[in-house]
Protein backbone atom coordinates (compact mmCIF):
# COMPACT_ATOMS: atom_id res chain seq x y z
CA UNK A 1 0.00 0.00 0.00
CA UNK A 2 1.27 3.46 -0.89
CA UNK A 3 2.05 5.76 1.99
CA UNK A 4 1.09 9.40 2.36
CA UNK A 5 2.30 12.30 4.44
CA UNK A 6 0.18 15.35 5.31
CA UNK A 7 1.98 18.58 6.12
CA UNK A 8 -0.03 21.12 8.12
CA UNK A 9 1.80 24.45 7.86
CA UNK A 10 -0.86 27.10 8.40
CA UNK A 11 -2.60 28.47 11.49
CA UNK A 12 -6.20 27.37 12.05
CA UNK A 13 -9.50 29.12 11.18
CA UNK A 14 -8.33 32.12 9.11
CA UNK A 15 -8.32 29.75 6.16
CA UNK A 16 -10.13 26.46 5.72
CA UNK A 17 -7.04 24.53 4.68
CA UNK A 18 -6.43 22.79 8.03
CA UNK A 19 -9.87 21.17 8.08
CA UNK A 20 -9.70 20.41 4.35
CA UNK A 21 -6.33 18.67 4.72
CA UNK A 22 -7.58 16.75 7.77
CA UNK A 23 -10.57 15.51 5.73
CA UNK A 24 -8.24 14.07 3.05
CA UNK A 25 -6.17 12.50 5.83
CA UNK A 26 -9.22 10.77 7.34
CA UNK A 27 -10.27 9.52 3.91
CA UNK A 28 -6.81 8.04 3.28
CA UNK A 29 -7.05 6.40 6.68
CA UNK A 30 -10.36 4.80 5.62
CA UNK A 31 -8.44 3.31 2.67
CA UNK A 32 -5.87 2.02 5.18
CA UNK A 33 -2.96 3.89 3.65
CA UNK A 34 0.04 4.26 5.98
CA UNK A 35 -0.12 7.90 7.10
CA UNK A 36 2.29 10.39 8.61
CA UNK A 37 1.10 13.79 9.82
CA UNK A 38 3.52 16.69 10.25
CA UNK A 39 2.79 20.02 11.90
CA UNK A 40 5.40 22.32 10.40
CA UNK A 41 6.14 26.01 10.96
CA UNK A 42 2.93 27.94 11.70
CA UNK A 43 1.10 24.60 11.49
CA UNK A 44 2.00 23.95 15.14
CA UNK A 45 -0.66 26.58 16.00
CA UNK A 46 -3.23 23.95 14.98
CA UNK A 47 -2.29 22.11 18.17
CA UNK A 48 -2.71 24.83 20.80
CA UNK A 49 -4.75 23.60 23.75
CA UNK A 50 -8.15 25.04 24.67
CA UNK A 51 -9.19 26.24 21.23
CA UNK A 52 -12.79 27.49 21.20
CA UNK A 53 -13.61 28.16 17.54
CA UNK A 54 -17.31 27.62 18.31
CA UNK A 55 -17.22 31.30 19.32
CA UNK A 56 -16.74 31.92 15.56
CA UNK A 57 -19.34 29.33 14.64
CA UNK A 58 -16.54 27.07 13.38
CA UNK A 59 -16.32 23.40 14.32
CA UNK A 60 -13.47 22.51 16.65
CA UNK A 61 -11.67 20.01 14.44
CA UNK A 62 -8.58 20.12 16.67
CA UNK A 63 -10.41 17.47 18.71
CA UNK A 64 -9.99 15.15 15.74
CA UNK A 65 -6.21 15.58 15.91
CA UNK A 66 -6.34 13.88 19.31
CA UNK A 67 -7.99 10.90 17.63
CA UNK A 68 -5.44 10.52 14.82
CA UNK A 69 -3.94 7.42 16.46
CA UNK A 70 -7.42 5.84 16.50
CA UNK A 71 -7.63 6.54 12.78
CA UNK A 72 -4.45 4.50 12.32
CA UNK A 73 -2.10 7.43 11.80
CA UNK A 74 1.22 5.88 12.71
CA UNK A 75 3.46 8.90 13.06
CA UNK A 76 2.71 12.47 14.12
CA UNK A 77 5.63 14.91 14.08
CA UNK A 78 5.64 18.42 15.54
CA UNK A 79 8.25 20.83 14.21
CA UNK A 80 10.58 21.98 16.98
CA UNK A 81 11.44 25.18 15.08
CA UNK A 82 7.73 26.00 14.72
CA UNK A 83 7.21 25.63 18.48
CA UNK A 84 10.22 27.82 19.16
CA UNK A 85 9.08 30.47 16.68
CA UNK A 86 5.77 30.77 18.51
CA UNK A 87 7.27 30.36 21.98
CA UNK A 88 5.24 27.24 22.62
CA UNK A 89 6.28 24.38 24.86
CA UNK A 90 4.84 20.88 25.02
CA UNK A 91 2.55 21.90 27.90
CA UNK A 92 0.78 24.41 25.60
CA UNK A 93 -0.07 21.97 22.84
CA UNK A 94 -2.04 18.79 22.32
CA UNK A 95 0.18 15.88 23.27
CA UNK A 96 -0.34 13.88 20.11
CA UNK A 97 3.11 13.42 18.61
CA UNK A 98 6.85 13.63 18.81
CA UNK A 99 8.79 16.87 18.63
CA UNK A 100 11.07 16.61 15.60
CA UNK A 101 13.85 18.68 14.06
CA UNK A 102 13.99 19.57 10.38
CA UNK A 103 16.30 16.64 9.59
CA UNK A 104 13.78 14.11 10.90
CA UNK A 105 10.96 15.89 9.07
CA UNK A 106 12.97 15.82 5.82
CA UNK A 107 13.55 12.08 6.20
CA UNK A 108 9.86 11.39 6.75
CA UNK A 109 8.83 13.46 3.72
CA UNK A 110 11.41 11.62 1.62
CA UNK A 111 10.19 8.20 2.73
CA UNK A 112 6.51 8.54 1.79
CA UNK A 113 4.99 7.93 -1.64
CA UNK A 114 2.80 11.05 -1.59
CA UNK A 115 3.02 14.32 0.35
CA UNK A 116 0.08 16.70 0.45
CA UNK A 117 -0.29 20.20 1.81
CA UNK A 118 -3.09 22.70 1.25
Amino acid sequence: MKSVCFIFNKPPYGQGSGKELLDICLMCSAFEMPITVIFQGDGVLQLIENQQPDILNIKNYSKTFKALKLYGVETVLIDAAGLEKHQLVTENILNIGEIANSKIIQNVIQKTDFSIML
Partner: protein
Protein backbone atom coordinates in the same frame (compact mmCIF):
# COMPACT_ATOMS: atom_id res chain seq x y z
CA UNK B 1 4.00 5.65 -19.90
CA UNK B 2 2.98 6.93 -16.47
CA UNK B 3 -0.36 7.65 -14.82
CA UNK B 4 -0.97 11.06 -13.24
CA UNK B 5 -3.69 12.51 -11.07
CA UNK B 6 -4.02 16.16 -10.16
CA UNK B 7 -5.38 17.80 -7.01
CA UNK B 8 -6.48 21.38 -7.72
CA UNK B 9 -7.39 23.77 -4.91
CA UNK B 10 -6.62 27.08 -6.62
CA UNK B 11 -9.41 29.65 -6.88
CA UNK B 12 -9.96 29.98 -10.65
CA UNK B 13 -10.01 33.74 -10.95
CA UNK B 14 -7.90 34.77 -7.94
CA UNK B 15 -4.88 32.52 -8.50
CA UNK B 16 -2.88 31.25 -11.43
CA UNK B 17 -3.01 27.62 -10.26
CA UNK B 18 -5.92 26.50 -12.45
CA UNK B 19 -4.15 27.75 -15.56
CA UNK B 20 -0.88 26.09 -14.50
CA UNK B 21 -2.76 22.84 -13.93
CA UNK B 22 -4.42 23.09 -17.34
CA UNK B 23 -1.06 23.58 -19.10
CA UNK B 24 0.49 20.78 -17.04
CA UNK B 25 -2.34 18.43 -18.01
CA UNK B 26 -1.87 19.22 -21.70
CA UNK B 27 1.87 18.54 -21.38
CA UNK B 28 1.20 15.20 -19.63
CA UNK B 29 -1.04 14.14 -22.50
CA UNK B 30 1.35 15.42 -25.18
CA UNK B 31 4.11 13.29 -23.65
CA UNK B 32 1.87 10.23 -24.08
CA UNK B 33 1.09 9.72 -20.39
CA UNK B 34 -2.30 9.03 -18.84
CA UNK B 35 -4.44 11.29 -16.66
CA UNK B 36 -6.36 9.09 -14.25
CA UNK B 37 -8.41 11.85 -12.68
CA UNK B 38 -8.41 15.57 -12.00
CA UNK B 39 -9.82 16.26 -8.57
CA UNK B 40 -11.10 19.72 -7.69
CA UNK B 41 -11.16 20.59 -4.00
CA UNK B 42 -11.56 23.65 -1.74
CA UNK B 43 -11.89 26.85 -3.85
CA UNK B 44 -10.76 24.83 -6.87
CA UNK B 45 -14.35 23.57 -7.24
CA UNK B 46 -15.47 27.06 -8.29
CA UNK B 47 -14.19 26.39 -11.80
CA UNK B 48 -16.96 23.82 -12.29
CA UNK B 49 -19.67 26.51 -12.17
CA UNK B 50 -21.29 26.66 -15.61
CA UNK B 51 -22.58 30.16 -14.76
CA UNK B 52 -19.03 31.61 -14.67
CA UNK B 53 -18.95 34.44 -17.22
CA UNK B 54 -15.45 35.89 -17.52
CA UNK B 55 -15.06 38.79 -19.98
CA UNK B 56 -14.73 37.70 -23.62
CA UNK B 57 -11.03 38.68 -23.74
CA UNK B 58 -10.16 36.48 -20.73
CA UNK B 59 -9.67 32.73 -20.79
CA UNK B 60 -12.79 30.84 -19.73
CA UNK B 61 -11.27 28.19 -17.48
CA UNK B 62 -14.53 26.26 -17.11
CA UNK B 63 -14.82 25.85 -20.88
CA UNK B 64 -11.09 25.14 -21.22
CA UNK B 65 -11.32 22.23 -18.77
CA UNK B 66 -14.56 21.00 -20.31
CA UNK B 67 -13.09 21.06 -23.84
CA UNK B 68 -9.99 19.16 -22.74
CA UNK B 69 -12.06 16.64 -20.80
CA UNK B 70 -14.34 15.91 -23.76
CA UNK B 71 -11.55 15.76 -26.36
CA UNK B 72 -9.23 13.59 -24.27
CA UNK B 73 -11.80 11.70 -22.22
CA UNK B 74 -10.57 12.92 -18.83
CA UNK B 75 -12.44 12.61 -15.54
CA UNK B 76 -13.04 15.97 -13.90
CA UNK B 77 -14.19 15.16 -10.38
CA UNK B 78 -15.46 17.83 -8.01
CA UNK B 79 -15.56 17.26 -4.24
CA UNK B 80 -19.26 17.30 -3.42
CA UNK B 81 -18.87 18.76 0.09
CA UNK B 82 -16.66 21.62 -1.10
CA UNK B 83 -18.95 22.17 -4.09
CA UNK B 84 -22.28 22.32 -2.24
CA UNK B 85 -20.90 24.94 0.14
CA UNK B 86 -20.01 27.07 -2.86
CA UNK B 87 -23.19 26.67 -4.85
CA UNK B 88 -21.94 24.10 -7.35
CA UNK B 89 -24.79 21.59 -7.60
CA UNK B 90 -26.10 19.03 -10.07
CA UNK B 91 -29.80 18.37 -10.65
CA UNK B 92 -30.09 15.80 -7.85
CA UNK B 93 -28.39 18.04 -5.30
CA UNK B 94 -30.42 21.06 -6.45
CA UNK B 95 -33.63 19.13 -5.79
CA UNK B 96 -32.40 17.74 -2.47
CA UNK B 97 -31.49 21.25 -1.29
CA UNK B 98 -34.59 22.96 -2.74
CA UNK B 99 -32.56 25.09 -5.17
CA UNK B 100 -34.04 26.49 -8.36
CA UNK B 101 -31.48 25.04 -10.74
CA UNK B 102 -28.30 23.05 -11.14
CA UNK B 103 -25.07 24.99 -11.69
CA UNK B 104 -22.39 22.44 -12.52
CA UNK B 105 -20.93 22.32 -16.01
CA UNK B 106 -21.82 18.91 -17.52
CA UNK B 107 -18.14 18.06 -18.13
CA UNK B 108 -17.59 17.93 -14.35
CA UNK B 109 -18.92 15.34 -11.95
CA UNK B 110 -19.72 15.67 -8.24
CA UNK B 111 -18.31 12.92 -6.08
CA UNK B 112 -16.79 12.21 -2.69
CA UNK B 113 -13.28 12.69 -1.37
CA UNK B 114 -12.77 8.94 -1.68
CA UNK B 115 -12.33 9.53 -5.41
CA UNK B 116 -9.13 11.46 -4.64
CA UNK B 117 -7.67 8.65 -2.53
CA UNK B 118 -8.71 6.08 -5.10
CA UNK B 119 -7.00 8.16 -7.81
CA UNK B 120 -3.80 8.38 -5.73
CA UNK B 121 -3.72 4.61 -5.32
CA UNK B 122 -4.17 4.15 -9.07
CA UNK B 123 -1.59 6.78 -10.11
CA UNK B 124 2.19 6.97 -10.27
CA UNK B 125 2.14 10.66 -9.46
CA UNK B 126 -0.16 13.14 -7.74
CA UNK B 127 0.59 16.79 -8.52
CA UNK B 128 -1.12 19.54 -6.51
CA UNK B 129 -1.93 23.00 -7.88
CA UNK B 130 -3.07 25.50 -5.27
Amino acid sequence: MATFSLLITANPYSNQGQYSALEFTKAVLEAGHIIKRIFFYADGVLVANRLNCPPADELNLTKSWAKLAIEKDIELTVCVTAALKRGIVNQAEAERNALTSESIDPAFELSGLGQLTEAMLASDRLVTFG
